[in-house]
Amino acid sequence: MFIDYQSMSIWELLAFNAPGWGGTLLKGLALSLEIAILGFLIGLLIGIFGALGKLSKNIISRDLWACYTTAVRAIPELVLILLIYFALPSALNSLLNAIGFEEIEINAFIAGVLVISFVQGAYATEVIRSAMMAIPTGQIEAAHAFAMPKFKILYRISLPAMLPHALPGLSNLWLIATKDTALLAVVGFTELTLAARQAAGSTKEQLLFLSVAGLLYLIISLLSDVFFKHLIRRANKGQMHG
């Protein structure tokens, strides 16, 4: 079916339903956000373990975590995406075959989440590690003196106490997560950037659709900024400012 995009107005082009491309863009935005949120949260979890591993007395775990964070910070995200997108599923399946399990299928969404969380985990490790180091040692020692078990110290003392120090870094990481989802466009996953590119290619209105996508990203980043500023202000309420 031939659609005459040239004669349509901007609002018709951006309309939510079919000849317009607004729906496609919003669907892409939703996918981008889902992947960013999941990747950010899993990355945060990796970051907590990574920070504990890097601060532990065990030199082997310290070295292994150092290898992980160094590698992620040195290898381009685009290359990591290729590695995880193409190499990981086949490697995983040949491993599963070898130990007699059935093959699993890693779809684009899961691969995307894996990539983002892998990258986020490395950066989150560094953020949380330096935030934990900013906790006065006396507080941890006091917890030890009360004979608190290790895990309890972690979630009662370390994590809440490091949060105000980590929040600026974490807000930065969240923005990186939203922007990194755009890289999935390169492997053909229709998130916001690729959705915009498809709309632009079909309608020949390159500037319009790519700018609209940019505007959507910008709105997300500005809203997140306001949200995190609010969180930081709340977290710092009880802190002394010397």
């Binding site: 290898i75 381009p76 390169v186 590119r197 632009a200 390159q206 940019g214």
Partner: protein, 275 residues
């Protein structure tokens, strides 16, 4: 990440592992780890197919050269732009500060891939409609991907580094600037002799990391038909149907490049340490 306050004790703890002592590499677990890595690498070299390297040698070198040229030119140009962007946010006037600030948040708030596409496909689609441009000497350049890639990467550096330079300019102790003023230095001289060198010195560790980030951003230009290192290896993968080897080799190349950059900046930092 630079606004994380740190107590003196945590600073000392942070610095300790960074001192490079050669004999720490000979700790038993590290020897085993290094041995494991060497074994793995030799396994990779022996078991996998590497015959294509010879065939594509020239392509790889050209790709590498392009990546490096793109990295150096865009970073230097972007950094030169970043200096006024950072400076006006500290000194004013207010409308210029506002302008610089919004430039930074627009670039930093959108993905670089989208910016590259917007500039290449979006702005690039306007040019053919301008009659006189098609006959001008500029036309051959405008149909090439280079200028677009260069512009996008440079703007990105300008925004990210502008933000860092703003903090660095603001962080130079007021007393030093006042002392320079008391010596009767002109504002321009204060900037070039005191303010800028001190700001750059203070931000050197961060800038080293930013150069590596820029290196990691360069493969994005492969999406607008520029043949850099990344694109060469994509081509190899498509032509030889080999999946893993080119990917691993490319990963190794980027790791080594990042390592070299880190080493260079470590040297620079040591040389320019504040006393």
């Amino acid at each position: 990440m630079d606004n994380i306050p740190s107590t003196p004790t945590s600073l000392a703890a942070k610095k300790a592992p960074q001192i490079f002592r050669p004999f720490t590499w000979l700790m038993p677990h590290r020897v085993i780890l290094i041995g494991l890595v060497i074994y793995l690498i030799s396994l990779l070299i022996n078991k996998l197919d590497w015959y294509w390297i010879e065939e594509y040698q020239d392509d790889i070198l050209i790709g590498l050269w392009r990546t490096l040229v793109l990295l150096v030119t865009t970073f230097v140009t972007g950094f030169i732009l970043a200096i006024p962007i950072g400076l006006v946010q500290v000194t004013g006037p207010k409308y210029l500060a506002r302008l610089a600030q919004s430039f930074c948040s627009v670039i930093r708030g959108t993905p670089l891939l989208l910016q590259i596409w917007l500039i290449y496909y979006g702005i690039g689609s306007i040019f053919p409609e301008i009659e006189w441009l098609r006959d001008s000497f500029l036309w051959p350049y405008l149909t090439d991907a280079w200028p677009y890639a260069f512009l996008a990467l440079t703007l990105s550096v300008a925004a990210y580094e502008g933000e860092i330079m703003r903090g660095a300019f603001a962080g130079v102790p007021k007393g030093e600037l006042e002392a320079a003023k008391a010596f009767g230095m002109s504002p321009f001289k204060i900037l070039t002799r005191i303010w800028l060198p001190r700001a750059i010195q203070r931000s050197l560790p961060v800038i080293g990391g930013e150069v590596i980030l820029q290196l990691k951003a360069t493969p994005l230009v492969a999406t607008i038909t520029l043949i850099d290192t990344y694109a060469v290896f994509s081509k190899i993968r498509q032509e030889t149907y080999i999946v893993y080897e080119p990917l691993l080799f490319m990963t190794g190349i980027y790791l080594i490049l990042a390592g070299i950059i880190a080493l260079i900046f470590n040297r620079l930092e040591k040389k320019n340490e504040a006393h």
